[in-house]
């Protein structure tokens, strides 16, 4: 029995929708792939996957056709950093799962088990075009009630798709999160040099453990700075397969990090990068991309003294791979504002095409999931956003979002509230309007 038939029997409705062939016609399609922008294009979706895209595409018999004449279609947007699905109300401890404090776990903390695809935040953001997200645990320098702070390693993040289909987590252990700079220094005991030493010790321990696992387990090896679970989690990092996403802003910290990554052959992503533009050439040479904090042009700390609004353009001009999404203001509750970050980058010198890429394909590439997401290309998951106008304009809005070929209900807790209070003709109390 084919997998599709099996799921049709077990889960009738979703599978029927997935199995159907859909054609969306007439739109201007920004593929963000080699085909570039295509006017009056047709996109054919079969089994949730893009089967065809172009101007002269045959629509298969029996396909459901959606007329998108005059609309603009982009790939689904990719939230490159944040805690979507890990936080409901950030001021309420019991709803916050993205932060781990204390010594029990660090690198081994795997966030996927906490991900909640039904979080209020998911619907709010997906109806504004976010279809995939990197879910990245983070740390706190403020101690909890027991005096614990976080470790410089926040643990392992995941890549999720925001649709209603089964298996929202598309890749577990997609990246390892690390804090350096002033934040990392604070977590490590007061100096960024201490954070670097803690990092180096952890990597050395992970390497030693890799070669002496049985000795360690029979207690015939020296003590390590981290638990076995943490050392296990670091194995793919020292092998260079799992990227290390590092919160770091100051130019000198990035330089020290690049040297260490070269020594240990690590795969790096810089997160934040307020002063990354000052070390652009080194980033290019090391082939390290940046998930840029591009809106924050004022120094929150001395690590960001040289932050500037045009850093996305400066980095891109130098040849650095730039994704947008490092600003807190475009994560979590307002991950949807990633389009604003892109628009501001354009206003400050980045090309429109690179700005759209920086919120779609580039983050997918940085995390190694571009085989399924990030652009409108044959064989990729059909994550699409149909916009009424230029997607980077804040007065524009999505009219329909597709995730893995399924149309997402264009409803959230916020639209329900809006509709309730928009209805002024109803004299009954609002509680009766739903």
């Amino acid at each position: 029995m084919k997998l599709r038939d099996l799921c049709t029997i077990l889960l009738l409705l979703p599978c029927v929708l997935q199995a159907a062939t859909t054609a969306i016609t007439g739109a201007r399609v920004h593929t963000v792939g080699p085909a570039g922008t295509i006017d009056n294009a047709t996109i054919v979706i079969t089994d949730g996957v893009i089967a065809a895209v172009g101007r002269n595409v045959n629509i298969p018999a029996g396909a459901v056709t959606i007329d998108a004449d005059g609309k603009i279609i982009t790939p689904g947007l990719f939230s490159a950093m944040g805690q979507l699905g890990l936080t409901e109300v950030s001021a309420i401890d019991g709803t916050v799962d993205g932060i781990q404090r204390g010594e029990q776990f660090s690198a081994g903390f795997d966030i996927a088990a906490a991900y909640n695809p039904r979080s209020t935040l998911i619907a709010v953001n997906r109806i504004e075009g976010i279809t995939r997200a990197a879910v990245t645990p983070t740390g706190r320098t403020e101690p909890d009630d027991f005096g614990n702070v976080s470790h410089i390693f926040s643990g392992l993040g995941a890549i999720v798709q925001l649709g209603d289909t089964a298996d929202p987590v598309v890749r577990r252990r997609a990246m390892m999160i690390l804090h350096l700079g002033a934040g990392g220094g604070s977590l490590a005991g007061g100096s960024r040099a201490a954070a670097m030493l803690q990092l180096r010790t952890a990597l050395d321990d992970a390497l030693d453990y890799a070669g002496h696992k049985s000795e360690f387990e029979s207690r015939n090896r020296r003590d390590y700075s981290l638990s076995q679970a943490d050392l296990e989690a670091l194995q793919s990092v020292i092998e260079g397969t799992t990227p290390l996403l590092v919160y770091v802003d100051r130019a000198s910290d990035i330089e020290v990090l690049l040297a260490l990554a070269d020594e240990y052959k690590l795969r790096l992503i810089v997160g934040g990068g307020a002063e990354a533009w000052m070390v652009a050439e080194q980033l290019v040479a090391a082939q390290v991309g940046v998930i840029l904090s591009s809106i924050n042009n004022l120094p929150a700390s001395f690590d960001e003294l040289n932050s500037r609004l045009d850093s996305a353009a400066l980095l891109a001009d130098a040849g650095v791979v730039v994704a947008l999404g490092g600003d807190n203001s475009v994560q979590n509750y307002n991950a949807r504002n990633i389009t604003q970050a892109a628009g501001i980058a354009v206003a400050n010198g980045l090309t429109w095409e690179l700005a759209l890429r920086a919120i779609t394909l580039t983050p997918a590439e940085l995390y190694g999931v571009a085989d399924r997401a990030g652009s409108i290309e044959i064989g990729k998951d059909a994550d699409l956003v149909v916009w009424n106008a230029d997607p980077l304009e804040l007065t524009s809005y999505p009219q329909q979002v597709f995730i893995k070929g399924e149309s997402v209900p264009m409803q959230s807790r916020q639209t329900l509230l809006r509709d309730r209070y928009l209805d002024w003709s109803n004299s009954l109390p609002p509680a009766y309007r739903h």
């Binding site: 109300v89 950030s90 209020t120 929150a300 040289n306 609004l309 980077l392 304009e393 916020q414 928009l422």
Partner: protein, 458 residues
Amino acid sequence: MSLRTSVALTIVFLLSVACDDSAKLSSPDADAAYASRYQALPASTTLLRGATVLTGTGERLENADVLLADGKIAAVGSELKAPDAQQVDASGLWITPGIIDVHSHLGVYASPGVDAHSDGNEATAPNTAEVWAEHSVWPQDPGFVTALAGGITSLQILPGSANLFGGRGVTLKNVPGKTVMDMKFPGAPYGLKMACGENPKRVYGGRGVAPSTRMGNVAGYRSAWIAAAQYRDQLAKFGNGEGEAPNRNLQLETLAGVLDGEILIHNHCYRADEMAVMLEIAKEFDYTISAFHHAVEAYKIPELLSSNNVCAAVWADWWGFKMEAFDGIRENAALLDKAGACAIIHSDDEIGIQRLNQESAKVMGAAAAVGVDIPPERAIRWITANAAKALGILEQTGTLEKDKMADITVWSGNPFSVYTTVERVYIDGALAYDRQAPQNNPVTDFSLGTAAATGGAK
């Protein structure tokens, strides 16, 4: 000066203001302690020609000219002639009133955001009406300059929201000053920051002192107003030659200033039901609330707000970060506007203040999606005229009307496009910012030698 004399002078000032509304807006004695020592930057007569003009009064003029003379708006219209004026070709550009933020912490939570710069919350007692934000303002905060590059010409600096009464806010003109007095908006009334809800009860409840509940918050406000009313009455009697003058009390002086209509209430209040309770308190003690700030649920009570003539200052889309923010919706300001209430978009943020135009655009987009169309000439009021109204400075600024301060922002295009940049900012007719001449733009002492000093933008 004896204490007694100073009390007597205060009384005279309070009484004169109470009797004559216009006194509120006149320039106070420049020699008085803490008075504005604002001096406009050097200005020449300037004629900006051929722009799209949003007047702030709800009008949109195409191919219009704006004449700035003697620091004032001399004329707005078509085919204006002023041969001696500096001529600026503004075709293709848009001109709006200078942008005004009613809720900023620039200078009191200055960048860099280190503990040493945490000067916005005197979180040592739930009522600190005696503190004045201006005494925390660091004029070298680089955020003033970046706000200028975002078109901000006036802004209110408020204390934080830890306390029921956080202290006095101060309205500034966004010009570089060596002291806060150099920046104070001449004649602008003071604000008083109040806070509802979670913050005060969390801060003090966490220490085991009142308030620890919302009802504790309300008891705290009411007790303070009872004391303030007594103080005011005793002062009034003394002014009429009856009884003793009360000992001078900074906290009660500010609260009495509210009861006398001299100081404007700016009330941090998220929930609709709490705003309604605050209006009841205002009714009990006979004062008015100028604006609710962070009014995340204002869209639930537009009639209540408009009938009480109180503005609602809101974010475009901040929501969810605490329980009282859980019901935030992007259409908030648009639904208020549609209902005839006074809607304001505010920042509360050193980054957000740089683009209140874009925050407004988000509201316009969300509203348009449900058939509520707000044109640019209407939306611009949220960050100009309505903000000026809430700050009590609408007679001087906030619209492009003749004889108002020549505070204007010139945009590269429609201000509600994400691609639009601020090209020029004029404050009292002086060119305070010019995107095309970064070498002429201000740089704070703190920013010398950093990227900010090179312009920070291509």
